[in-house]
C-alpha cells in the first residue's frame, strides 16, 4: 500500500481565490492511501518544496500528489523535489487545479468540488504508480554523414570542429556533389568552385574527418547513440593511399569513349578517371564497365604508366564496420529525367538542354571550356529560350513530373539569363514563366536586375511545344499578358527541370527506419519546430534530401543538423524517457499489430523459449520494445488486442483508475 502525501497549493489567490484549499485538503484525507493532506501558499517555492521533503521524511511517504498548476508548468520541479527527498520522481502526480479549475470557474463551491475530484483522480493514479528509472545507453562519439555534397561537407566540418569524429560516405569517387558542377551561384554570382573547393580541402585535411568515397552504406543496425553501420567501399582498382593523383593514367588510357557524367555526358572521359581537377580525394578510379583490362584482361596501360604503382586490378569491394552515435542523411537531389517530356523535344535535339547542362556549358572546366556553344554544332547561339517549371508543379501525372515547386529554378534561371546577357550581349534571352518566385535575401532584386539591367525578356506563359526545324528550334508558347501565341525561332532551349531526391534515399530510409513523404523526401520530426531531425531518434537531415533547397539554405540546415548532432554526441549517456511501452512476453501473441503502428520502429520480434506444460519448451514469437527508441506515444498499446503492451507511467490500469475516480 502506498503512503501518499497530498499537497494543495494556493498559488497565492490564483487557486485559493476560487477553490477552498483547506476544504480540498480535508476532503482528500480520506482517500485510499493518503496519510497526509495539507495546503500551503506556494508549493513551488523553496519553502514549499522544503515542506514536501520534510513531510516525506516524517510520514515515510511513497507517493506525492500536488494539487497545483498545470503539470506542464511544475511537474519537473516537483519530480526533482521528490528525488531530493529520496523517492522516485515518477511517484509524483499533479492535479491541475489552476489552469483547468480555479481559473475557469468563478463559483467557489463549484471550483472546490471539481478540485476535490481532480485531486482524487490523481490519488487514484498514484496508488498504481510504480517507480520508473529512465534507461541509459552510452553514446558512441562518432557521427556518420551520408552524402558528400555541400550539405554533407558543411555538417561534417561543423561536427568535426566541435571535437567529434565524423565519417563521410560518398557514393561517387569524389565529394563535392552538385555544387561542384555549378558555375556561378546566385544571388552573389560567386564562382561555385571558388567557395566550395576550399571546404573540400578542409574536409580532406581535417584530422577528425574520414572520407569513404566511392562507398555506400550497406546496412544500419542499432539505435540512437549506438548505430552499427556497414559501409561498402566499392573497388576502384586504384590504391587510394598510394595514388598521387598525378593524372598520367587518365591521359594514357586508350579507352576514350566513356560518357563523362561530371559534364552530364556532353563530352567523354577515359575508363580511368579523376572526375575533376579539384576532386577530393584526388585519386583515380577505374570504371569497371569500360576498362578493357578488367573486361578482357588485355591492356594494363594505366598500370604501366603509374609510377606510384597504385593500380590494382584485383581489388575487391571492401566492407567496413563502424559504430556511430548519430547519422546524418545528406543524400541530396537530382534533376528529374526529361525523357517523358516529348513536347520539349529534349530527346530529339541536342540543343534542348537542362539547366544543369547549361551550367556545365558556361563553366570554364566544362566541355566547351566555358564558351557558350550549341551542343549540336558548336555554334554560338543568338537566341536562347529558357522554360521554367518543367516537371515542377505538375500534378497531372506522377510518373512525369512532381507536384511540388522545385524552389531553386526561378533563381538559377534568372542567373543563367543574366550571365548569358553579361557575357554575350548579342544574345537575345527569353524566359517563359508561370510565376517568378523569389523569396529570399536579395533574390527579387537579383531577378529584377536580370530584367531591368540585362534586358532579359520574361514572358508570363508556358511553352506548349518545341519542334526542331533545320538548325533552329521553333518554340511555341503562350504569352498570357498579350493574349498571344508566340512562335520563337531559338538556337538553344534550356529547360528548368524539376529536382527530386536522389534515388539512393529510399533504400537508405528503409535502413534507417526514417520516414519519407510521398515524394521520397525525408520527413522531419516536426515541420516547424524540429526541421533537421528525423522522427527516428539519432537520425538527422541535412540539405535537399529533406526538401528542395538552395545553397544558403542547405548550408544553414547543414549547420543546424550539425548542432543537433553535437548536442547528442556531447552527452556521455542518453537518458531516456522512462514512460515507454513495455510488452508482457507471457501475453504477447507476436501478431505484429504493434510493430505496424509504431512510428519509430522501436518494436522488434524474436523467437523466445518459454516453459510449456510438462517440462516442455515452447518457442513463441514475442515483441520487445527498445526503450532507447520508444518515445512513449502509446499507439501500440491500443493496437495490441491482448493488452500485453502497456505504457509505463500511463498504464491502462492507471487510466482506468482515473476514469473511475472521475465518474465516482
Amino acid at each position: 500500500m502506498q503512503r501518499i502525501g497530498v499537497f494543495v497549493c494556493w498559488c497565492g489567490s490564483n487557486i485559493a481565490g476560487t477553490v477552498d484549499v483547506a476544504k480540498v485538503a480535508e476532503a482528500l484525507k480520506s482517500e485510499p492511501g493518503v496519510v497526509l493532506s495539507t495546503n500551503y501558499q506556494y508549493m513551488c517555492s523553496q519553502a514549499g518544496q522544503e515542506m514536501i521533503k520534510e513531510a516525506v521524511k516524517e510520514h515515510k511517504l511513497t507517493g506525492l500528489v500536488i494539487c497545483s498548476c498545470s503539470p506542464r508548468m511544475h511537474e519537473a520541479t516537483f519530480r526533482k523535489t521528490a528525488a531530493a527527498a529520496g523517492i522516485n520522481p515518477y511517484m509524483v502526480e499533479i492535479a491541475n487545479i489552476r489552469e483547468q479549475c480555479s481559473w475557469i470557474h468563478k463559483d467557489m463551491e463549484e471550483g472546490t468540488e471539481k478540485a476535490i475530484v481532480l485531486g482524487r483522480t490523481a490519488i487514484a493514479k498514484v496508488n498504481l504508480n510504480a517507480p520508473l528509472t529512465p534507461g541509459e545507453s552510452p553514446v558512441t562519439k562518432r557521427a556518420l554523414v551520408i552524402g558528400g555534397g555541400i550539405a554533407g561537407i558543411q555538417t561534417a566540418l561543423d561536427i568535426a570542429d566541435a571535437g567529434f569524429y565524423v565519417d563521410i560516405v560518398e557514393k561517387k569517387p569524389t565529394i563535392g556533389g552538385k555544387m561542384a558542377q555549378l558555375d556561378k551561384t546566385f544571388p552573389t554570382l560567386d564562382c561555385a568552385a571558388c567557395i566550395l573547393t576550399p571546404k573540400m580541402v578542409d574536409v580532406a585535411q581535417h584530422e577528425r574527418i574520414r572520407i569513404f568515397s566511392y562507398s555506400e552504406v550497406e546496412s544500419v543496425k542499432g539505435f540512437v547513440g549506438n548505430f552499427d553501420v556497414t559501409i561498402r567501399k566499392k573497388a576502384r582498382y586504384v590504391k587510394e593511399d598510394v595514388c598521387t593523383g598525378c593524372g598520367l593514367c587518365t591521359e594514357k588510357c586508350p579507352q576514350k569513349k566513356v560518357p563523362n557524367e561530371f559534364n552530364l555526358g556532353m563530352d567523354n572521359r577515359r575508363a580511368i578517371y579523376i572526375p575533376f581537377a579539384q576532386a577530393v580525394p584526388k585519386v583515380a578510379t577505374i570504371d569497371a564497365d569500360y576498362c578493357t583490362m578488367l573486361k578482357t584482361g588485355k591492356c594494363g596501360v594505366c598500370s604501366k604508366v603509374c609510377t606510384a604503382k597504385a593500380i590494382d586490378y584485383t581489388q575487391k569491394d571492401e566492407f567496413i564496420e563502424e559504430k556511430y552515435g548519430a547519422i546524418v542523411a545528406a543524400t541530396g537531389f537530382n534533376p528529374i529525367s526529361m525523357d517523358k517530356f516529348d513536347e520539349f523535344a529534349y530527346s530529339q535535339s541536342k540543343d534542348v538542354i537542362t539547366s544543369l547542362e547549361f551550367e556545365r556549358l558556361m563553366n570554364a572546366a566544362g566541355p566547351t571550356a566555358g564558351k557558350l556553344l550549341r551542343p549540336s554544332d558548336g555554334v554560338h547561339p543568338h537566341k536562347i529560350v529558357f522554360v521554367q517549371c518543367v516537371g515542377s508543379r505538375c500534378a497531372s501525372c506522377a510518373e512525369k513530373g512532381k507536384e511540388y515547386c522545385s524552389k531553386i529554378c526561378c533563381m538559377y534561371t534568372a542567373k543563367h539569363a543574366m550571365l548569358t546577357r553579361d557575357k554575350y550581349p548579342d544574345t537575345d534571352v527569353t524566359v517563359f514563366y508561370i510565376d517568378v518566385r523569389t523569396p529570399g535575401k536579395q533574390f527579387d532584386e537579383f531577378y529584377r536586375r536580370a530584367v531591368e539591367e540585362y534586358g532579359v525578356h520574361y514572358i508570363k506563359g508556358m511553352v506548349g511545344k518545341v519542334s526542331p526545324e533545320g538548325n533552329k528550334l521553333i518554340v511555341q508558347g503562350s504569352d498570357l499578358i498579350a493574349n498571344k501565341q508566340l512562335k520563337i525561332e531559338a538556337d538553344l532551349v534550356v529547360l528548368a527541370a524539376a529536382i527530386e531526391p536522389d534515388k539512393s534515399a529510399r533504400p537508405l530510409a528503409t535502413m534507417l527506419t526514417a520516414s519519407m513523404d510521398t515524394n521520397d523526401f525525408f520527413t522531419e520530426a516536426h515541420p516547424k519546430l524540429r526541421p533537421v531531425e528525423s522522427p527516428t531518434a539519432g537520425i538527422f537531415l541535412s540539405g535537399a534530401c529533406q526538401g528542395p533547397k538552395d545553397i544558403p539554405e542547405t548550408v544553414s540546415q547543414a549547420g543546424a543538423a550539425a548542432a543537433k548532432v553535437i548536442g547528442l554526441l556531447a552527452k556521455d549517456k542518453l537518458t531516456g524517457n522512462p514512460c515507454v511501452a513495455h510488452s508482457d512476453e507471457m501475453m504477447c501473441n507476436g501478431c505484429s499489430s504493434c510493430e505496424k503502428v509504431c512510428p519509430y520502429g522501436a518494436i522488434t520480434y524474436s523467437d523466445k523459449e518459454f516453459r510449456g506444460p510438462n517440462r516442455t519448451t515452447l518457442i513463441r514469437r514475442v515483441a520487445s520494445v527498445n526503450e532507447a527508441i520508444c518515445q512513449g506515444c502509446g499507439c501500440c498499446t491500443v493496437a495490441c488486442p491482448s493488452g500485453a503492451m502497456d505504457l509505463k507511467g500511463f498504464a491502462s490500469k492507471q487510466i482506468m483508475a482515473e476514469v473511475d475516480a472521475i465518474c465516482k
Binding site: S592, I619, G643, A644, K653
Partner: protein, 328 residues
C-alpha cells in the same frame, strides 16, 4: 461442382500419411450427435476409417487449431480447408501465429453447411441421426425418417457465402470456385435503417442473453491471444462473468473491436453461441464500415496485408462523419 466425399478425403489423407509427408490429420468426427461434428486429430488410417466424417455439418474452421497443432511435432500436419477457412488461415499467417512450413493444406470445395437449428424448426426435437446430401435425411424419435432440401436449411453464413475460392492451399481437391457477391451486409443495413431506439432494443434483447461462456471467443480464429485481455490482470477490464447488462456489451464491443480488420467473417462465433446471439452482425458492421470508410478490405485474402486499423491515410474521414453518414 464435383462433390468431395468422405472416402476421397480419407484416401488423400492415407496417401499423405503413407508418404510420410504428414504425421497427423486435422479432421472431423462425430460428437454426441451426428449433426454435432467436432474437430479431431487423426494419426492413423484405421481410426480415420472408423471415425472420420465429412458432410454438411463439418463446420469447424481448423485454422485456429494449427497454432497449437504445428508446435506439437516436427512433421507436417494435414489440414482440410473449406474456402472460408482459407481466409482465416491466411490471416493467422499474416499475424505469424503458426509456421506455414509445418502445414500441408488441402483445399476442399464446399457447397454450404447445414444449420441444425433450422432442421429442428422443421422436425422438432428428438433427432436421432442426420445424413448429408442435397436432400438431408433426418431421423427423429417420433416421426421416423424425413427428407429436407439442403438449400432450405443452409446456415446463414452459407446462404450469404462470400467466397467459394480458396486463397491458400498446397493442393486443391475438386474445382476452384469464385469470389461471390453476397448479400451478407443486408442485415446490417437493415439494422442501420432502424431508429436508435429500435437498435438499442434489438441489441439489449440479444446481448442480455449472453451468459459469458466465452464460446465465441474460444472458437474465433482471430481471437488467438495467449491470454485474452479480459483475463489480463493489467488490462483494467479483467473479469470473468458479466454481472450486468453493460458488461456484456463491453465484452462484445471490445471483442468485435479487437478483431476488426482481422475478422474474416467466418461466422463461427454465431454458430457456437449457445444463446443464438447473432454476434456476426457486430463483426459485419465493422467490416461494412471499413469497406465504406477505407476502401474494400477482406481480411485473409492476402498474407501480409496491412489491416485497416494498423494503417491510415491523411485523408481519412473524421469520426463525426462516420456516425453522421448513417443518417443519410
Amino acid at each position: 461442382m464435383q462433390k468431395v466425399t468422405r472416402e476421397m478425403l480419407i484416401e488423400k489423407a492415407s496417401a499423405l500419411l503413407a508418404e510420410g509427408k504428414v504425421d497427423r490429420v486435422l479432421g472431423w468426427k462425430n460428437g454426441e450427435f451426428s449433426y454435432d461434428v467436432t474437430p479431431f486429430v487423426f494419426t492413423d488410417v484405421e481410426s480415420m476409417k472408423k471415425d472420420f466424417v465429412f458432410g454438411d455439418f463439418a463446420f469447424a474452421n481448423f485454422s485456429k487449431y494449427l497454432i497449437k497443432e504445428t508446435k506439437k511435432s516436427e512433421n507436417k500436419v494435414l489440414v482440410f480447408l473449406k474456402p472460408c477457412d482459407t481466409y482465416s488461415f491466411n490471416q493467422l499467417l499474416t499475424e505469424h501465429r503458426f509456421n506455414r512450413e509445418k502445414v500441408y493444406a488441402v483445399g476442399i470445395p464446399c457447397d454450404g453447411m447445414v444449420d441444425v437449428s433450422k432442421i429442428k424448426e422443421i422436425v422438432g426435437d428428438g433427432i436421432i441421426s442426420v445424413e448429408s446430401g442435397d436432400l438431408i435425411k433426418v431421423e427423429t424419435l417420433y416421426d421416423g425418417v424425413k427428407e429436407i432440401a439442403k438449400k432450405d436449411v443452409l446456415a446463414e453464413r452459407c446462404v450469404n457465402c462470400k467466397s467459394k475460392k480458396h486463397v491458400a492451399y498446397d493442393e486443391l481437391m475438386g474445382e476452384e470456385g469464385e469470389i461471390l457477391d453476397s448479400n451478407r451486409f443486408d442485415e446490417v443495413a437493415k439494422l442501420e435503417a432502424m431508429t436508435a431506439d429500435e437498435r438499442y432494443a434489438f441489441w439489449q434483447n440479444e446481448l442480455s442473453r449472453c451468459i459469458r461462456c466465452n464460446a465465441c471467443r474460444d472458437v474465433c480464429p482471430a481471437c488467438t491471444c495467449e491470454k485474452c485481455v479480459f483475463g489480463n490482470p493489467n488490462s483494467g477490464v479483467e473479469n470473468k462473468a458479466a454481472s450486468n447488462s453493460f458488461e456484456e456489451k463491453m465484452f462484445h464491443i471490445i471483442r468485435a473491436f479487437h478483431v476488426a480488420g482481422r475478422c474474416t467473417d467466418c461466422g463461427e462465433c454465431s454458430r457456437v453461441c449457445p444463446q443464438n446471439i447473432p454476434l456476426h452482425l457486430l463483426n459485419r458492421k465493422f467490416i461494412k464500415d471499413i469497406n465504406a470508410f477505407y476502401g474494400d478490405y477482406q481480411a485473409g485474402e492476402e498474407v501480409g496485408s496491412r489491416a485497416p486499423l494498423t494503417n491510415y491515410t491523411k485523408e481519412d474521414l473524421e469520426p463525426s462523419e462516420a456516425v453522421n453518414k448513417e443518417e443519410n
